[in-house]
Subunit: 348 residues, 4 copies
């Protein structure tokens, strides 16, 4: 990420200005206020403003006249209690505002979180900068192997064609494995070259559509709102985004999860660090009761109880699907030894 | 409104603490931060925190890197443009948090505004103070005459029984008018005495239901969540309430309106003053484009056009109901002269 | 619950009218459409309308052109997959509308669920019926013993005075237990008599405040919006309430939970039965993945893993509070045997 | 718009199935239920389901036991009253669900309306069809002349560079006007050819990135979620979209407005027709009180009052900007004659 000098100057001017306030203030967050925290190749996350801190959660939960805090240990205990029992309203009493630069395909996932305020840079009235996202090479290789489409379970459930690649991937494990590794680097480089060339061609057309033309210069003078539709989904946009802490944590729970697309996860990771600076007690409770937590369904609970009693567990008989059982074993690896060996049909 | 000394001490401790911040700060709002602004007999409004100022609206509308403002005159023009064209998202970028003490029947109207965050004092776990709202005398007299129930139009539309009082009120305009005035004061005093006695009886029962009893002392040891249900709707509750500026203005448009019940209007008036301190440019635009504005329906527009052409206007022929025409004439009193005299049926 | 003959006639007229439709239709729900399902002493829940069924969830998840379903078994699997992975948007594609009659103190808890549409009967314009809620005797006895206020943990965390009753309750376990049982029935009856008398007194005042008075009849002609504030929180109100299935399940998860107040839980139970009729597959998934589920926090997961390995578990060392450990043992009773005996300090 | 035979068959199967229901039913809407109503070159709007009708608005407003309607004329009057006084909650009691196919750049504007439920076709797991939007020729010509970017007022307020085309446009009015007309058609054709070629190139790359490759066939086996980012913003997507009537009318007020981009307006027009079929009384009230309405600001009201009194109006002295005055004159053309002639400075 590189910013033009005049934008950097604007940011510096903003940061240089300090004023006294009676409001809850978080020095660790003030430190980075306004600074662009880089994400992906051209994106960033900037904290523009915030309201509240850990003590403000406590203050609201107690409907206090003053700060609401008693001693740090009891504040921590209350915040953990609220997080554990999903008493969400005190967390809604903190608010944060970001300026974010992100590719359009990421923005499209992001905007699905409706409980937030958004002001996006308008490509109807403004001209977009020539900036687009390109995945880096290692990243692309990773994806080539792991995530080409829906898993077989999803394909079946959602009625999607199962990706043929599954078969191919199986093949490659046998004889092409070695070559695949080295080949992949070249292929990745080639893919990135092609993506880059395509985006540049699109942007050149965009600029021509917008251009006025003139002697020897091609230009069509098309409206901005129409010219933009030749731009790729990798084009960067930017917006102001404001959200309360409860809804932000929900966003992070979904978007910092390994199932989220890697690009939006990169943003979620940066925002997780911001949250840790801002409300360290709420952050710690969020880690313990959400991010590291695992929910046992009714049948899964039954499976765990049997294993604790030393009994063998037959996942299918309990109504657990193959994938549910795998997820449960990933969360509690000790369960593996409890699994009942499937009956061998060839036995006498 | 009277606060216990320990609550005042908590508020003072909160206000005494100042810290430097890089965030947008509004000195005129800092002045009253945390102070209880009295409303009704025991209620208050306290500003606990805020995010943003007039410049923050501009900053979001321009998706700026810095403060976003250029010169005051152009900021004002942009804010007015946004308000006029109902570009609401930049106003959502400001947020404010209140601590409010209010009677339950007011809280029930208030909570209908769903786009806000609320933390209410819990009467399941806590014991409510012996505080209830009593209307004052002049106020009650006013209401005795003016607003006893639905207007005849509402009664007809919603299928409600028309209040008999309408007839009585008509009577009183003729012969009892004078006496009514003096009588009303006594009646109002009597009504307030009765309301007070009833509320005190209810609170006494509440305390007995909660009490443990003991030697010679009556007490039933009932759960708080059940004991409370003998309390009247005039009982005071309190909550933390957080909302963005756009939704706050919408709340104020409805609740500071003469059609709103006087008690919630009293809160809206105090909050209007807070908004004027906080975002004076947005406040001015709100006054011009919302509070002083009047919306001409299609038929009303036609009526105004005819009047401007010097033609006579027949409201009924244009599809305007009697009440619509009255409201239009109240907004544009000059229309009265344009109204076509109703045809006199006795003419030859 | 008893309805006036003209209301029953209106309901019958509504139910008698059938029309053909191309929309998703659920015969089991049509059966009870419009019928008042009784709750508490005067309350009810009536299903007024609904949109969608189990197949509509599948249809939206697959963004189908037709019904979207393939065969029942795969629909069930997809719905369970969506519920398990908290893919909430397909459940939002079903909607239901209720007419509900409920006491005001229940309505105040209910309205905290903001993602719903509400139309409440107006006590500003209409006169409320003389109907109020009285808990029944067994119920009150139960509460006298179990839930007099916050638990000791809540009192400590929220900075509330611990209810004295805790001490009393401890006493009663020793010597007064027997008497308590029989006494309680009398006390409960006495409490209900008092609540009833108080509510009747309040309603009588309400009617006088509203009344016009006349020869020998007391009456003050006060506005409806003001007269109502002498009414108790047990007064019945009614509203139309419309919500999507995802948000309804969230409501039920919280309000059918044993921690919810018994009165709102009574409504949640009736609505659970409605949901089972309406979307049986979603209901079953909701039971397995929400209602019977238990979430293991990070530390709790560690405790379970140790127990599965046959190791002793020291909850405190893992950072589990006493109450967390109790809840965990309640969910997985087999853990009790794994708990490390607390070190005996008197040991040599 | 052309649909594959199997999709048409699915739609036919859906439509063929009718069942009796006790719910509010609208025959005029049943007629088109499930049918794809074409929009733009490949898009459509399909009504999938609906809840409520005009009578349901009345029923909720009256919190009725039965249908709630009395006679058609009073229902109409109540609906108009509710619309006029912005009593929005009864309109929220109707709900509608659509299946919509639309270009991504339109979807990005659409999704800004947050009070709706959405299920979008996933390009992470599925492969997008080779379908993209191309504006038609007349349309493009229109835009070339009229809307190349922000107006001068917007440019100034939002701190945007004023589009140079403004000057050019001025030029063309003098000497190139005639040629411009004929030239424009050729230019438009050329622009569309270029847009088409670019989109096809992008789609070909997309397919190669996804492809497995093989003997003589290029293919890179890239993950779907990454391959898609080379696609243009003109690519078609589709979603299920569900919204209540109040929020739908708000969407239509903004998106059927001449200031909206023509492409989203095309969808809004089709949906307006759907609303007219569904709730004709609410539609009529919406036309009169929203679409044909004009809001007079405080200063504008003063201007109208002066004109009605026959006085000259000086917009600037009243605080009306040039553009506000123009909009006011467009709404009330008779005002033009009232405008005070600007003082001529060259006068003696």
């Amino acid at each position: 990420m590189r910013l033009e000098p005049e934008k950097l100057a604007e940011i510096e001017a903003l940061r240089a200005h300090q004023q006294p306030t009676r409001r809850a203030t978080v020095p660790a967050l003030e430190e980075i206020l306004g600074l662009p925290l880089p994400v992906l190749d051209h994106g960033f996350v900037r904290v523009i403003d915030y309201m509240g801190d850990d003590a403000a959660i406590v203050q609201a939960a107690r409907v206090s006249y003053g700060k609401g805090t008693k001693k740090p240990s009891s504040d921590r205990a209350l915040i953990r209690y609220l997080m554990r029992h999903r008493h969400t309203s005190p967390f809604e009493m903190c608010e944060i505002k970001f300026h974010i630069k992100l590719p359009i395909f990421v923005a499209r996932q992001w905007i699905r979180h409706r409980t937030a305020n958004v002001n996006e840079y308008s490509a109807r009235y403004s001209i977009l900068d020539r900036e687009f996202y390109l995945p880096d090479r290692e990243f692309l290789q990773l994806f080539r192997i792991e995530r080409k489409g829906p898993g077989p379970e999803q394909a079946r459930l959602f009625d999607l064609p199962e990706p043929e690649v599954q078969a191919t991937a199986a093949q490659s494990t046998t004889n092409k494995q070695g070559r695949e590794g080295t080949l992949a680097a070249e292929v990745a480089a080639e893919v990135i070259r092609r993506m880059k060339r395509a985006a540049e061609t699109d942007f050149t057309l965009y600029e021509r559509l917008l251009g006025e033309g003139g002697e020897g210069v091609e230009g069509y003078g098309i409206a901005r709102e129409l010219a933009r539709l030749v731009l790729p989904l990798s084009t960067y946009t930017q917006w102001y985004w404001k959200i309360d802490l409860h809804n932000l944590l929900h966003f992070l729970e979904l978007r910092a999860d390994p199932h989220a697309q890697a690009e939006i996860r990169a943003y979620a990771q940066v925002i997780l660090d911001v949250v840790r600076r801002w409300v360290p007690l709420a952050y710690e409770a969020f880690e313990d009761y959400r991010r590291k937590a695992f929910t046992l369904s009714g049948p899964a609970r039954e499976a765990v109880r049997r294993a604790l009693r030393g009994e063998a567990v037959d996942p299918e008989a309990l109504g657990l699907s193959r994938r549910e059982w795998e997820e449960l074993r990933a969360a509690l690896p000790e369960l593996a030894t409890a699994e009942r060996a499937p009956p061998r049909s060839q036995e006498p």
